[in-house]
């Protein structure tokens, strides 16, 4: 009886258990990969701002609002004042614009939900990438098609290194007018990003 039990455990139960655990792990790992890296993250924003309308249909340049993207490490989120440049006149009666105007007149900053984030210990620099002609869409996807901004690309270190190692293949879009700039391999040493 005892022998039988041991055999049963070893021959049947254990392999099944290992199989189940491994399958679950592998499936979960891959199934949750995007989620862990934030791919697909589409948080609701305090104001229903449409990039599709502004950047897509109206063809406003990214740098009209994200004006410091080529000057600084950070691509700034515009202040309410920038929105009001147009919206003090345009579409004043729409509910979202009324919301915006309210923020602006009260002097309260709008707390936009952050969509893209590299960890604190990595120092990404927008300016050096944009000034080399690397288009926003290479990392941020086709924002001009998005009603609500969503993270579409992986923001892991592997994603960074893929491009740094092989920009010719991985960089798909170049900012118009900057096609002549030579894009070398990006630095691959640790201190390029970690300090």
């Amino acid at each position: 009886m005892k022998n039988f039990l041991l055999d049963y455990n070893l021959k049947v139960r254990l392999p099944i258990l290992i199989f189940v655990v491994l399958t679950v792990f592998v499936v979960t790992y891959y199934a949750s990969y995007a989620e862990r890296n934030g791919v697909g993250y589409t948080p609701a924003q305090p104001i229903l701002y449409s990039h599709k309308l502004h950047a897509g249909d109206l063809k406003i340049d990214c740098r009209y609002c994200h004006s410091d993207v080529d000057k600084s490490r950070h691509a700034n989120v515009p202040s309410a004042k920038v929105c009001m440049n147009c919206h003090s006149i345009a579409r004043k009666d729409k509910p979202e614009i009324i919301k915006l105007t309210d923020y602006y007149t009260r002097g309260v900053p709008i707390e936009w939900k952050r969509v893209h984030k590299v960890p604190e210990f990595a120092y990404f620099n927008h300016s050096v990438h944009v000034n080399k002609g690397i288009d926003c869409s290479n990392c941020h996807g086709n924002i001009a098609e998005m009603e609500v901004v969503e993270q579409v690309k992986d923001f892991s270190m592997r994603a960074c290194l893929d491009c740094h190692r092989n920009p010719a293949v991985n960089i798909k879009n170049i900012i118009p007018g900057k096609e002549n700039l030579k894009i070398n391999n990006g630095p691959q040493n640790c201190s390029a990003c970690h300090r």
Partner: protein, 1085 residues
């Protein structure tokens, strides 16, 4: 089942209590035929049911049992479900897991909160710089404040400032910590009857104070304003005009813990000019420093260091100057001197007279040799006898006399400001005799806005306070209770004053004795103007809105002088300064629009040169009045007792910044001691009194006594003890409270010599000890293994200036020259990957000729790189976190040491030994020659630190921010101070100098933006920017066009521990001592 039975029994044996807590049951369960309980009858007021009330026997029986009949029967197992609990739980969790895996939820990434209306000048992520003025001491250096998103995070010198020229001292560097100090006062408070303070509103405080001030003024009682040096024209106008107009009995007293008062009064006696003139130190070929630490803690150190080091540059074509130092205390100036003679401080005056006698009477170098009065005065001083008596080196004195004589008109003698007026008079004559008055600057002079109060003025003030003639005392950001010599009896007199108001940033000894404590803005939140010299003005501007409910101290007085609390508004003092500038610094600006243009230009530059030089005649010295010397009664004569000298602290200044941990943890240049002051004594004195370092001694002078730990400082004169002031604050924040010993109480207004010097001290051994902690071990001088190791291992390579001039290759001449073939053979195979740095390769050059060992670099590095304060106990365990340290090496004998300084930081070796041993590849090399450190990868094995030949790696044994002094560094305000471009390291990771990678990356960003090559000359590391003597250079080693290339390949260059072939990228330029003899140490080369 016997066990179960027992259990039941024990349960039932338990005493049972009813609601009222009374024991109603003690009997055993088995006894079922219990009679009616007698207590039951008495307690019949309380019943739970009628059965109980009527004492139903069934009920009583039941009550004996805890459980109802049948309750303890075993259940029928067959009636259970076949589905076990374990299975149920397993299924439950499995289904929960399945359900959870189907869910999709993202990690919240927080918010991005942009400005509502972004100021035009702000670019998020790029710093803004504002020109301002530092108020850390009386010298008011020009500063540039770096702000990121509105937060000041770094202070450096303003290059446009004519005095400081882009450099500031450690106090200025660390001043951002004062702004963010969580212990700053946050609200005005009123103390009633010596009880603790109650927070009140500004309006209430203003109302109460104005009423009391008006009262005092109308009843003719004096209103006293006590300040430190006033160097602001607007402050002066406010205090002496506007405030005085409102309160006619107001009077301003100013004092300074350390001042040039003796120097100035001596100069007035000699030349009839009130202030000692400025000196062209860079024109002096020979400098004689008499107990003067002009490179360390005396005078405007920033300017002095710059001027001195201009003549210590092997490449700018100017001859080296020669620095002689004669001193009792071991100062940095002395340790940097080419010739240092050790002489008791109280013999200095005699030495000057001997020199005068030598030059006037014997060598007749001056017309004064015909003046019988002068020669008569000098005839008793015999240089040879003096040399004999004090055991000075004859050759050195001969060199000195020779040099001074040869360089008449281009040498300079300077005496320490602690020395009495009589010494300074003699020194003035010596400079006059040698024609060195040519070096005095005629057209530019120091401006004293309000002269410091004299001793008699302060004495009168105290007696007025004692006798009740003073109605109110206002401490205008000053701390007289702590800073004034104890024998004035200030604290006692203060208790007689009905109204005491302290305007201060943090609590201090004076605010503790005040009725009103009003918090004031820090220098980052204030407006102001300064004029320290007559050729320029400088401006101070706020770079951040006040963090707390504070007001600028000038605003407060201005409000009071308007007589109503309603006069206050946020711009009141800014307007006041602007109005003053309309009539002063920017007078004749024309229309308002023109004025505003000039005003903004002035704000942008931080300084304006003033065209109106105030009556030149007043400042240019007339001829020397020899009667000043003839009537000069020597105050300083050699005694048989010990000399006590009280020094300005090298890092803390006058103690006002005691709560700044960065300054407390900055090592003293020579002893490398942190977090304490001590009595520096000589080796001989220690031997004579059988004292060891850390023994506590009792020092007694005519002014009193203190107990202070001893530190044996090589190079101190026998019979001299030196103690730093500024320590021992007992009313202070948590960081600085009771750090060190308060030696201020040893100062005396009645000292026979000066406030800072006594020659009647007695030392007693107390028998107890106290542990001093230093960042560098002091090995025994006679330890054969370690003696002169810095020379034997060529860590320090030195030569003499003459040697260098004769043969610039002297440093490498002794090294065996190999042919190329031989070199190839000698190459050691490396286990490293062979990097070929074809592009940029970063490197640093440190010019040891210029380095004075002052530590400014370390202070700047702390601020730039978010270095935590670790506290004394951790420094003791060698866990200080400074990324750059100054190694101080002694050679020679303990009595007469020769000192070498060497800044040591990560050498970014080409074949870095740390990189090989890291098991997780957390420290790696970059193609531009940097040895990088990825904190998030580090697991803290510390192998790298173990394998580093330079010992420059620092490990976070704790989260030091969390550990030190009740986690004060974790306070929210401190987190605003951190440089966002540098990671704040946590426990368990290794860190080290990064060559300020964040600044390299900033230049890289600019280069890419401007589509050009990255240029090394555009990058300044924090230490380089701070170095007062510009000894540190940083650049691209492969950029052949750059100035840096020349320095890096200079014939004086060497790397430390060359023989281990790690190929460091920090090149040191060998120190050249400007001595006449070829030194003995050259044997080692």
């Amino acid at each position: 089942m016997p066990l179960r039975e027992n259990q039941e029994k024990s349960i039932m044996d338990k005493k049972v209590t009813d609601i009222s807590g009374k024991i109603i049951e003690t009997a055993a369960v088995t006894d079922t035929t219990v009679p009616v309980n007698e207590n039951q009858e008495k307690d019949s007021n309380y019943w739970r049911s009628f059965r109980e009330l009527y004492n139903d026997p069934d009920f009583i029986r039941e009550k004996k049992n805890e459980f109802m009949p049948g309750a303890l029967d075993r259940p029928d197992e067959n009636s259970f479900s076949k589905f076990s609990r374990r299975k149920f739980l397993a299924l439950l969790s499995a289904s929960a897991a399945v359900a959870a895996s189907g869910c999709s939820n993202f990690r919240d990434k927080g918010e991005i909160i942009p400005y509502n209306k972004k100021p035009e000048s702000v670019t998020i992520g790029n710093p803004n710089y504002y020109a301002s003025t530092c108020t850390g001491c009386q010298y008011a250096c020009g500063i540039l404040i770096k702000t990121l998103e509105g937060r000041p995070i770094k202070v450096d010198g303003n290059p446009d400032h004519p005095v400081s020229k882009g450099k500031i001292c450690a106090i200025g560097q660390a001043s951002v910590m004062n702004l963010y100090d969580p212990e700053r006062l946050k609200n005005p408070s009123e103390r009633i009857n010596n009880a603790g303070g109650n927070d009140i509103t500004w309006a209430a405080a203003d109302d109460k104070i104005i009423a009391q001030l008006k009262n005092a003024a109308s009843s003719g009682k004096e209103i006293v304003i006590i300040t430190n040096t006033i160097n602001s024209p607007s402050q002066k106008k406010l205090l002496t005009e506007d405030f005085k107009r409102a309160y006619p009995t107001a009077k301003v007293y100013s004092f300074e813990l350390f001042s040039d008062a003796n120097k100035n009064s001596a100069f007035e006696k000699c030349y009839g000019v009130k202030t000692f003139p400025l000196v062209q130190l860079d024109k002096a070929n020979v400098i004689l420093a008499l107990e003067s630490d002009f490179l360390g803690n005396e005078g405007n150190k920033v300017e002095n260091s710059r001027l001195y080091s201009q003549r210590r540059d092997a490449f700018n074509g100017e001859e080296f100057n020669r620095l002689y130092s004669v001193e009792g205390n071991a100062s940095i100036t002395g340790m940097n001197a080419d010739y240092r003679m050790i002489l008791r401080t109280d013999a200095i005056e005699e030495f000057v007279y001997c020199l005068l006698n030598e030059f006037i009477s014997k060598q007749k170098v001056s017309a004064l040799s015909a003046d019988a009065g002068v020669t008569g005065k000098l005839q008793n001083y015999n240089l040879n006898g003096f040399i004999e008596k004090n055991n000075l080196s004859k050759e050195t004195v001969a060199h000195l006399i020779d040099d001074l004589k040869k360089n008449q008109g281009s040498s300079f003698v300077t005496a320490g400001s602690m020395l009495p007026e009589s010494t300074h008079i003699a020194v003035n004559l010596l400079n006059e005799v040698l024609g060195n008055n040519k070096l005095y600057i005629k057209d530019v002079s120091t401006v004293e806005q309000i002269p410091l109060s004299s001793k008699s003025e302060l004495e009168n003030l105290i007696s007025d306070m004692q006798s009740g003639k003073v109605g109110a005392v206002i401490h205008f950001d000053s701390n007289p209770v702590y800073n004034l010599p104890g024998d004035y009896g200030y604290a006692d007199a203060l208790s007689k004053v009905p109204l005491v108001i302290s305007l201060t940033e943090t609590i201090n000894e004076s605010s503790d004795k005040s009725n009103f404590v009003l918090p004031v803005n820090s220098m980052f939140e204030s407006w102001g103007d300064f004029q320290t010299r007559n050729n320029f003005y400088s401006l101070q501007q706020p770079v951040i809105a006040p963090l707390y409910n504070t007001r600028q101290k000038e605003e407060i007085l201005l409000t009071w002088s308007k007589g109503t609390k309603d006069a206050f508004n946020n711009e009141i003092y800014q307007k006041y300064v602007m109005d003053n500038w309309k009539a002063g610094a920017l007078q004749g600006a024309g229309s308002d629009a023109d004025f505003m243009k000039k005003w903004y230009a002035a704000l942008n530059d931080g300084v304006v040169s003033s065209k109106t030089v105030s009556s030149a005649g007043e400042n240019s010295p007339s001829s020397f009045k020899s009667e000043a010397l003839i009537s000069n009664n020597s105050k300083l004569t050699q005694s048989n007792e010990t000399v006590l000298i009280l020094l300005k602290s090298s890092s803390l200044g006058d103690g006002r910044f005691a709560n700044n941990g960065w300054l407390q943890e900055l090592p003293k240049p020579l002893s490398r001691i942190v977090w304490d002051n001590y009595a520096a004594i000589s080796v001989q004195t220690a031997k004579a009194l059988s004292l060891k370092s850390n023994d506590i001694i009792k020092v007694t002078t005519s002014a009193g006594s203190i107990e202070v730990p001893v530190f044996i400082q090589p190079g101190t004169a026998e019979g001299v003890i030196a103690v730093e002031l500024g320590y021992g604050r007992n009313v202070c924040g948590i960081v600085g409270k009771d750090v060190g010993v308060n030696a201020n109480k040893m100062m005396s207004k009645n000292s026979k010599v000066t406030q800072w010097m006594f020659n009647d001290a007695k030392i007693e051994k107390t028998g107890s000890t106290y542990e001093l902690v230093s960042t560098q071990e002091h090995f025994a001088f006679d330890e054969p293994l370690l003696k002169d190791i810095q020379y034997r291992r060529e860590i320090i390579q030195e030569g003499t200036y003459l040697q260098y001039k004769e043969n610039p290759d002297f440093l490498t001449a002794h090294k065996t020259k190999y042919s190329e073939e031989e070199t190839e053979k000698l190459k050691v195979g490396s286990i490293n990957e062979q990097y070929v740095h074809t592009g940029t390769k970063w490197g640093m050059v440190i010019d040891l000729n210029k380095c004075t060992g002052c530590n400014e670099c370390a202070a700047a590095c702390n601020v730039e790189n978010n270095i935590p304060i670790v506290g004394k106990d951790q420094v003791k365990a060698n866990r200080e976190m400074h990324w750059i340290r100054i190694d101080r090496y002694y050679s020679g004998t303990p009595e007469v040491p020769k000192t070498s300084f060497q800044p040591m930081l990560c050498q970014h070796c080409d074949f870095a030994p740390c990189e090989n041993v890291c098991p997780v590849k957390a420290t790696t090399h970059s193609e531009d020659g940097l040895n990088g450190m990825a904190y998030n990868r580090c697991v803290g094995t510390r192998y790298c630190s173990n394998n580093c030949p330079y010992k420059v790696r620092r490990f976070n044994y704790f989260n030091f921010r969390d550990r030190f002094r009740d986690s004060i560094q974790k306070e929210e305000s401190f987190s605003l101070m951190a440089n966002p471009e540098v990671t704040v390291r946590s426990r368990g990771v290794m860190e080290k100098c990064t060559f300020c990678i964040q600044r390299i990356m900033e230049e890289r960003q600019m280069a890419i933006q401007e589509n050009r090559e990255i240029k090394g000359s555009n990058i300044k590391t924090a230490c380089q920017e701070a170095c007062n003597t510009s000894a540190i250079h940083f650049g691209d080693q492969n950029d052949k066009e750059a100035e840096f290339y020349k320095l890096n390949n200079s014939k004086l260059g060497y790397t430390v521990l060359e023989e281990i072939k790690v190929k460091p990228n920090v090149t040191y330029l060998a120190k050249l001592r400007n001595v006449l003899e070829i030194e003995k140490t050259e044997e080692h080369h």
